[in-house]
Symmetry: C2
């Protein structure tokens, strides 16, 4: 039976629960905190695509005031952090995407039970709604103040420079001049009300309930002059139960397409489903944007979009929600101008996509992304200027999406320009070695971010090659499908000059090969570094939160790496390598990998499946699938808070099950599956959409079938 | 009148005096400590070219036991650090190269005056000799133990694994298996002697004197089996006064050729003369070796030879002691095989000379040359693998020596191979930019060592160009002079393959030019760095001895540099730049230069003279000329002791006066001078040798003449 509930009875893990029990709808995320909590507990209504920069700090997404906050008093005594909890449960109903809590407090001399539910509407992205109930064990005066809490948790705020009351709510202005409006309607028939204050002489055995509907709008949604009228008119339309029903119906449709059923392993079944809950909660269903690296769980990583989306989330959406997938791809197509600008800034041609891409495509990455825990000084990092494989991630995502969907409009509507501009970028970023007769990509940061400024990172070079190949093949495809459009594009990208260059480049770009031991060196000189495993390097830490990478980190001069790098190469370019090569390199690199990024485990799992080692894969899959349930992830990197949810791990978990354990592949638009199930699993069933057609797959230990529906 | 004496009455500055009052003869250096001092006071008999590596520590030169050590007792009371000094004077007689000290102690109830002299013989490099006298103010029993002190000061020792008594001395074996023998003969007619113990019932008014002659030999000088017989037979030949006379005669010849007389500025006159004393003391008069960066003052910098020799010392020797100059050049010719090996090790062709070259040419540089003062960890540095301008320093030295001397044998006897192999190295180290159509030198460390891993360091690129030009011109010269020999050389260096490559390279190598503001960027992107001056950066130090450079140093992301870099370019390639360009760049870079290397000041002084700013030059010249007198230099770099003497500053001081203030230039073998004297100087006179002919120069404020002698 499917597992649909995630719960806890431990209310003390405030930060972790805030992540685990997130509700979201792609427009806003509401952290899984409790209603009586406030900014100090990391309560946040995190908004997608609304940013502000306070002083010299990082530009980060804006949190809106909290319209679901309540203050509870019983017999004149107010609920505080110290109020004893006699019973407590907090749970997510994944199917309905509704958050619940029930807590019995000892307060004002009585036992009072607070029961709530809430959801971020999937049907109306502006709507945040909830229901609150109170029961007492003996007669008591219960007072609740259910007002919008204007105190906002910020990593690098405050971001609001002005605050004005409006009917039923408040209107705020960010430092960048954007407006954020929040309104609230409380329906409390059983209560006396005065403003936002509700009170009742409660009797035992009676449940006192009210509902709250809140709207959040910003001036990015509607023009500033219509913002207040829109939000105040929006409040009084439908009632809570209807809103909840619409929300559930939307989620039912989602689950119908996306649900994956694992039998024989309830933990895995639940963890994967939870991962898909996260992904579908935070996906931009309403706009051509992308998914922040920490979802909508807070301001970590500046609310920016990373390669995480293309590499680890897009595969899921492409096959279960093509509309969302197209929005994600459109986001990159639409932000090409910023990528062109970034390349130009660094003296290159073509498109250099942002490492941390905010809504308009600008690169939010700081040149100093880590703090030295020994000196308190910012450390120069190279994510922004040298992690050039981001452009390949975009190009490969576009190209593989075209291959999967067969939709040539993806190329004609901007995709081909992206492919060609990314290809130009790699060419212009390359140098020619006159004695070795090859192009090289020098001074880069590969996926393993601990080793900075390396030459010929195998993954980066191969990904650059794939990019240029895609550009050349894309031209051929569009030439057939729409020769007129091709002419326009060719003129825009100066194809006359570039065709010959790029054709040479695919022949002459250096792709590192396995060395005499069969090991593909991660970069030039990698195997000359100290040959130690992860525990030895961990033992050298002087402070637990010091940065492992950079110029002088404990890992920097060793072969210990942060995350899958060569193994990502094996995964991404699976047809380039034999099973034997994959096995040897997996075994070489795994003990040298810290898995210090949540992008790592799912990749190791995938490649393990390919080499027939499902039981090696299993713990990596579970690590990936459960990261937001267990809270076992890094909270700090070199003094900087990096907590939140991990959508790339969520997406990686889906890839592990569907592409790994179930061996899903699509060749020429036809899906196939193959059984690589862990030995204790009985079966997996799921649906996927390929070239517009839906398929039902069923994989057991012995059988693997996929059929059109 | 010439100044010939350097003195102090402050005996407390033990380490500084040890450097300032060094005596040396190119074979060994004896630090300017006092006779009663020992290892804890950095007493050292530092040997040229004898190295040992203890454990994992750096390979460093070996110090021999001290044969001039004494222990003094009066009336049974022994002289210690606490014994009161009633009077003290320590001085160097620069003309004779003899060290003197005279101290009156209150010891054993009497006032006892100890007077000594000592010298490291310039006539016999194995000989260290001294004279000791004692006077008392009332009758007393004086006992002196004048034994070889076997306790040796080491930075990274101990280096002796075995010690054996031999007649009159000891024989030691280093960890590398080399033998070091020290013997001693004491002539003490006025004393009772018993072994090494001398005693007398001293009377007031009588001076009790003895002399010591000590020999130092190693198995690098004579075969191990003849070592003991050689050193014991050597001891009894001549008496002290004859030895001293021979020593003085040798120095008289040196001074006759090298002395520079400055009138109108006694401080400058003395400081320069002292600098020349240092240079001539430590020059390898007996072997084809070079001059360590800290002379023979200790083990700092591993007793290794740096570009310091070619850039800052060779100009002096070339023009005043051609025999020594030729030895210095031969050293590089002889160590070409190691340079070829080093290039090969890093994947390049040609000759990559050692950054810290020990006697056989091996690179003693550690990949971890600095210690992080915050963590105590070694820091990865790039002196060894990326400071590639060392090969150019060697090549330019050879080529300019050929031009100055006109001696084509320098080229035919190995020099041309060096030029060509260095040229091959730069070509193989370069990459071709296909869009910019030029060769570039990427990922280097320039003279300013604070900015690591930069691209297109202007100095390095220009020096590489000079190297390749010299190779091409060298071939033309040898073609004329000795076509048969040229054929042999061309075969050895595969000239058939390389001629075309190198001919293209001199056209296509990128040489950074002045930007729109007229500033020559030190490297790609230099002017995008934070634009601050030195004091602002100094204020950011958290610890006084932290490293300014590296990845995260206070200077690293700013325009503040360690030492002359673009200004060295202006000096080295003076004909490439207009006076206006030199002026603008001097003024731009000077406030951004820490002068954290003693190579810096003399270069700024030289270029200041060229642009007609002798009074700007003067303080830099004085800083350079007095560094070993004042002791004002860095003693630590990132936790590592770097103290000692500064021969590059000594040589730079000579260049400042002769080439700067007196404008010496040689065109086609004919020297010219021009007056750029500081305004308070009256005149400078000196001699130089050009193409085997000696010239006498005389420069005043208004006149400048140079005449063959």
């Amino acid at each position: 039976m499917s597992q649909w509930t995630v719960e806890t009875s431990d209310a003390t893990k405030v930060v972790q629960n805030g992540n685990t029990f997130l509700i979201a709808n792609g427009y806003l995320g509401y952290r899984g905190t409790l209603e009586e909590m406030s900014a100090k507990d990391f309560v946040a209504v995190n908004l997608l695509g609304v940013y502000d920069k306070h002083g010299d700090a990082w530009r980060e997404p804006v949190n809106a005031p909290d319209p679901l906050h309540l203050t509870l008093s019983v017999n004149g005594e107010q609920l505080t952090d110290e109020t004893p909890k006699l019973a407590h449960r907090q749970w997510l109903d994944l199917k309905a995407a509704v958050h619940h809590r029930q807590t019995t407090f000892e307060l004002g001399g009585v036992q009072v039970t607070l029961t709530t539910e809430r959801f971020a509407s999937a049907a109306d992205e502006h709507l945040l709604a909830g229901k609150v109930s109170v029961q007492v064990d003996r007669p008591a005066e219960v007072v609740i103040d259910h007002a919008i809490d204007p105190k906002v948790w910020d990593l690098n705020g405050p971001h609001f420079v002005d605050e004005k009351p409006i009917t039923d709510g408040i209107l705020l202005t960010t430092g960048e001049g954007d407006l954020v409006a929040v309104t609230q309607r409380v329906d409390a028939l059983q209560w006396r009300s005065s403003g936002t204050r509700l009170s009742t002489e409660a009797k035992p055995g009676v449940t006192y309930t009210y509902t709250v509907q809140a709207l959040v709008y910003t001036s990015l949604d509607v023009p500033a002059e219509r913002l207040v009228s829109t939000i105040t008119q929006g409040l009084h339309e439908t009632d809570y139960q209807d809103q909840l029903a619409e929300h559930k119906a939307t989620w039912a449709k989602r689950w119908d397409r996306s649900n994956v059923q694992i039998t024989g392993d309830n933990d895995a079944d639940l963890a994967l489903r939870y991962s898909l809950y996260q992904l579908q909660s935070i996906a931009p269903h309403h706009l051509d944007l992308s998914i922040p690296a920490r979802g909508l769980s807070g301001q970590t990583y500046k609310g920016a979009f990373f390669w995480d989306t293309e590499m680890f989330m897009l595969p899921f959406f492409l096959r279960t929600d093509p509309e969302v997938a197209r929005r994600l791809l459109n986001y990159r197509i639409n932000t090409l101008p910023q990528a062109l600008k970034k390349a130009q800034h660094y003296g290159y041609q073509g498109a250099f996509y942002a490492w941390e891409s905010q809504a308009d495509g600008r690169d939010a990455t700081s040149d100093y992304n880590v703090t030295d825990v020994f000196t308190g000084r910012p450390m120069r990092t190279y994510f922004k200027d040298k992690q050039i494989h981001i452009s390949a991630a975009v190009a490969m995502a576009l190209w593989s999406s075209y291959q999967l969907t067969g939709d040539v409009r993806l190329l004609t509507d901007g995709g081909l320009q992206v492919l060609i501009e990314c290809a130009k970028f790699y060419y212009s970023r390359s140098y020619w070695s006159p004695l070795k007769h090859r192009f090289e990509l020098l001074d880069v940061l590969g996926p393993d971010e601990y080793h900075e400024r390396v030459n010929n990172n195998a993954y980066t070079n191969r990904a650059a090659l794939a990019t240029v190949q895609a550009a050349l093949e894309g031209v051929v495809v569009v030439a057939k499908a729409d020769p007129e459009r091709l002419k326009e594009i060719q003129q825009q990208v100066d194809w006359g000059t570039w065709q010959a260059r790029l054709s040479d480049y695919v022949v002459d770009l250096y792709i590192p090969e396995p060395d005499a031991d069969g090991v593909i060196p991660q970069f030039d000189g990698y195997r000359d570094l100290e040959n130690v495993f992860v525990p030895a390097v961990r033992d050298r830490l002087l402070k637990p939160n010091e940065y492992w990478g950079g110029a002088y980190g404990v890992a920097s001069d060793t072969q210990v790496i942060k995350q899958a790098d060569v193994v990502l190469l094996l995964k991404q370019f699976q047809n380039d390598y034999t099973t034997e090569q994959k096995l040897l390199n997996w075994q070489y690199y795994e003990p040298r990998t810290e898995h210090g990024s949540t992008l790592s485990a799912s990749t190791y799992a995938l490649v393990a499946c390919e080499i027939g080692k499902a039981d090696w894969a299993y713990p990596f899959f579970m690590q990936s699938a459960t990261v937001d349930l267990t809270g076992k992830s890094k909270q700090f990197a070199g003094g900087v808070y990096i907590g939140g949810t991990h959508p790339a791990a969520n997406g990686g978990a889906w890839m592990d099950v569907v592409q790994g354990f179930c061996g899903l592949q699509e060749v020429d638009g036809r899906p196939t599956v193959a059984s690589h199930l862990p030995s204790h699993w009985q079966s997996v069933s799921f649906k996927v959409c390929v070239r517009g057609r839906w398929y039902q797959a069923q994989v057991t230990q012995d059988t693997a079938t996929i059929q059109p529906m």
